[in-house]
Subunit: 338 residues, 2 copies
C-alpha cells in the first residue's frame, strides 16, 4: 500500500517479479479492493503464485513511528511483517513510512542478539563495482559499539551478496590521520581494529565514497543520510547542466542528436533507481525498504534485493558472525533462539 503510487506500482511490479523468478511466491498485503482493481488487468500462470491478505489499515507516510506502533495491529505493514515472524514469508518489502517500518520491524521481528538497533544499508556504485554503506539514516546518534556492529553486518552483507572474501571496511571521517574526528569515530576505529576477523582499512574521507577503496563504508545515520542525499542532489544538478550544455545552439543540438544513444546509456548508468531496495539489517528477518517514489521497474529491483537476501539467509549469517566476533574478542554474548 505504501509509497507515492500505492498498489499501482507494487502490484504490477510484483507480477513482473513472478514472471522473472519462476520459483518465487508473493503475498500482497493490503486493502483488498485497491489491490484487486490493479490485479484485474493481469493475466498468466504466474498469478497462481500470487496471494492476497487483506488489511484494513494503512500506515500514513507522515505518521510518527511511535504513533504507528501504538495502533499497529490492523495495518498492512504489521501484517506483512508478521508473515515473516511466523515463517510464512522469507522477506518483507515496503515502500511506506521508513520510521514506522523500522519501529514495527523491531517490535514484530525483534533484533538479533548483540545488535542494538537496525541499520539501513544499500549498494552504492563505485569505480570498481559496488560498496555497501551503513547506516543511512536509521540512527541519528551512534555509539562506537553500534558502529562496530555496522562494520560486522556490512561485512556479512558483502560476503553474502557480492560473494567477496574479507571485504575491506572503512570508517567515514573528516580526515585520514588518527587524531581526526569525534570521540565516537575514534573509539569505533579502535574497536573495529581490534577484531582480527574484520578487514579494517582505517578512515575514509568523503571523496573515497565512490572510488571502491572500501567494500563496506561505516558511518552514523545522520552523516550517511546527508552524504548520500547530497550526492543525489548533485546528480540532479549535473543532469540539468549536461542537458543545458547540449541545447545551447543548433550545432550542439545536432551533436546531442548523434549522441542520443550515449546520453541515454549514461542516464541509465547514473539512474539512482537501479540501486533501489535498502536493507534493514540487524533484524531477525529480511526487511527491504523501497524508495517511496519508486516506479514499477525500480520497485522490482527492491523485490530482487529481498529475494537475494532471503536466498543467502543474511540474518542468520549476521547472527553467527556477530557471535563469532564477540566470542573472539572475549565479549559477553547472550545467544537467543533464532
Amino acid at each position: 500500500m505504501g509509497g507515492d503510487f500505492g498498489p499501482r506500482v507494487t502490484v504490477t511490479a510484483a507480477c513482473d517479479a513472478l514472471r522473472r523468478h519462476p520459483q518465487l511466491e508473493i503475498v500482497l498485503v493490503g486493502q483488498a479492493d485497491a489491490i484487486n482493481s490493479h490485479l484485474r488487468r493481469q493475466r498468466g500462470d504466474h498469478l497462481q503464485r500470487l496471494h492476497l491478505i487483506h488489511a484494513d489499515d494503512v500506515v500514513p507516510m507522515d505518521e510518527k513511528p511511535s504513533q504507528a506502533l501504538r495502533k499497529r495491529q490492523h495495518t498492512s505493514m504489521s501484517k506483512a511483517l508478521e508473515l515473516v515472524a511466523e515463517g510464512r514469508a522469507q522477506a518483507c518489502i515496503s515502500a511506506g513510512n521508513t520510521g514506522a517500518l523500522m519501529a514495527m520491524s523491531r517490535a514484530v521481528l525483534g533484533m538479533l542478539p548483540c545488535i542494538e538497533r537496525p541499520a539501513i544499508t544499500t549498494a552504492i556504485p563505485t569505480l570498481k563495482g559496488h560498496s555497501y554503506m551503513l547506516d543511512l539514516g536509521a540512527n541519528v546518534d551512534c555509539s562506537a559499539e553500534q558502529l562496530l556492529q555496522f562494520a560486522i553486518m556490512g561485512s556479512v552483507m558483502v560476503e553474502a551478496i557480492e560473494q567477496s572474501e574479507r571485504p575491506a571496511i572503512g570508517l567515514l571521517n573528516v580526515g585520514s590521520e588518527q587524531h581526526k574526528g569525534n570521540d565516537q569515530v575514534r573509539e569505533a576505529s579502535r574497536l573495529i581494529g581490534a577484531h582480527a576477523g574484520l578487514n579494517f582499512i582505517g578512515y575514509l574521507e568523503g571523496d573515497d565514497l565512490f572510488n571502491g577503496r572500501a567494500d563496506v563504508i561505516v558511518c552514523d545515520g545522520f552523516v550517511g543520510n546527508i552524504a548520500l542525499k547530497s550526492c543525489e542532489g548533485l546528480s540532479k544538478l549535473l543532469v540539468r547542466r549536461v542537458q543545458g550544455s547540449f541545447r545551447r545552439n543548433l550545432y550542439r543540438r545536432l551533436v546531442a542528436l548523434l549522441a542520443t544513444p550515449i546520453l541515454r546509456d549514461l542516464k541509465a548508468q547514473l539512474d539512482p533507481g537501479r540501486l533501489n531496495g535498502a536493507s534493514l539489517l540487524g533484524l531477525q528477518g529480511v526487511v527491504i525498504k523501497s524508495h517511496g517514489g519508486a516506479n514499477r521497474n525500480y520497485f522490482g529491483y527492491a523485490i530482487d534485493v529481498a529475494l537475494e537476501e532471503a536466498r543467502m539467509n543474511v540474518p542468520a549469517r549476521i547472527r553467527d558472525r556477530v557471535r563469532d566476533e564477540m566470542a573472539r574478542c572475549g565479549e559477553q554474548t547472550d545467544p537467543q533462539p533464532f
Copy 2:
C-alpha cells in the same frame, strides 16, 4: 609556502593577481630563497606591488595544530597572520595545513565577540547560482549555539559577497519534519527561528544542497565536510563514466570528437577548482584557505575571494550583525574592541 606545490604555484598566482587587480598589493611570506627562485622569471611593473617577508620555518602539512601552535613564532603562516593582526595586510591566504591555520588564526587574530570558534565556508554551485555552506570541517562537534552563529555569519557573507538581501537560511537534517534529527539540530532550529532578523526556512535534506532553496546551508563540520567531499567523489566517478561512455566504440569516439567543445565547456563548468578559496569566518580578520592541490589558476581564485572579503570588510559586518542579533534576542553580549 603551503600546499602540494609550494611557492611554484603561490608566487606565480600572486603575480597573475597583481596583473588582474591594479590596486592590489601582495606580501609573500616565506623562505626568501625558494620564493626568489620563482620570482626570477617574472617581469613587469606589477612586481613593484609585490613584497617579500622572509620566514625561516614552514608548518608541515601533517603537523598537529597543537604542535604547530607551540613553535609558531618563525613560521611563514604565523608571520602572514601577524601582518593582518597589525593592520599591515587586509587578508591572509594559505594553501597550507588547515588545522594549523585555524589554530594560529585564533591565536594571532582572535575571535570576534560571541563567536566561539571559526567556521569554514565556501560557495557551492546550485541550480540558481551559489549557496554558502558552513561549517565544512573546522568543528567536528557543534552545539546549537554554534550552529546559530554559523547561520548569522553565513547570512552576512551572502549579503556582503552576493549582494543579496535577507538570504534564506536552511539547517541540514535527515528529514524535513520537526521531530527529525538529533538534539543539537532541533535546538538550533529553535534558536535560529527565534531570530526575526534571520530568514530561516527550516530543515533542508541532503538533496536540497544544490537546488538553491537556501542561500546559507548550516551544518556541523563533520557532516559538512563529509557531504561536500562525497560530492567531489561522485564528480570523479561521473567524469570517468562519461569518458568511458564516449570511448566504447568508433561511432562514440567520433561523436566525442564532434562534442569536444561541449564536453570541454561542461568540464570547465563542473571544475571544483573554480570555487577554490574557503573562508575562515568568525575571526578578527580575513583568512582564506586554498585547497592544497590548487594549481596556479585555482590559487588565483582564492586570492580573489580574499580580495572581495577584505573589500566588503566581512569581519566587521559579522561583528556588527552578531551584536545586533544578540541584542535583539536579549542575550548578553560582551563587545570587545575590534
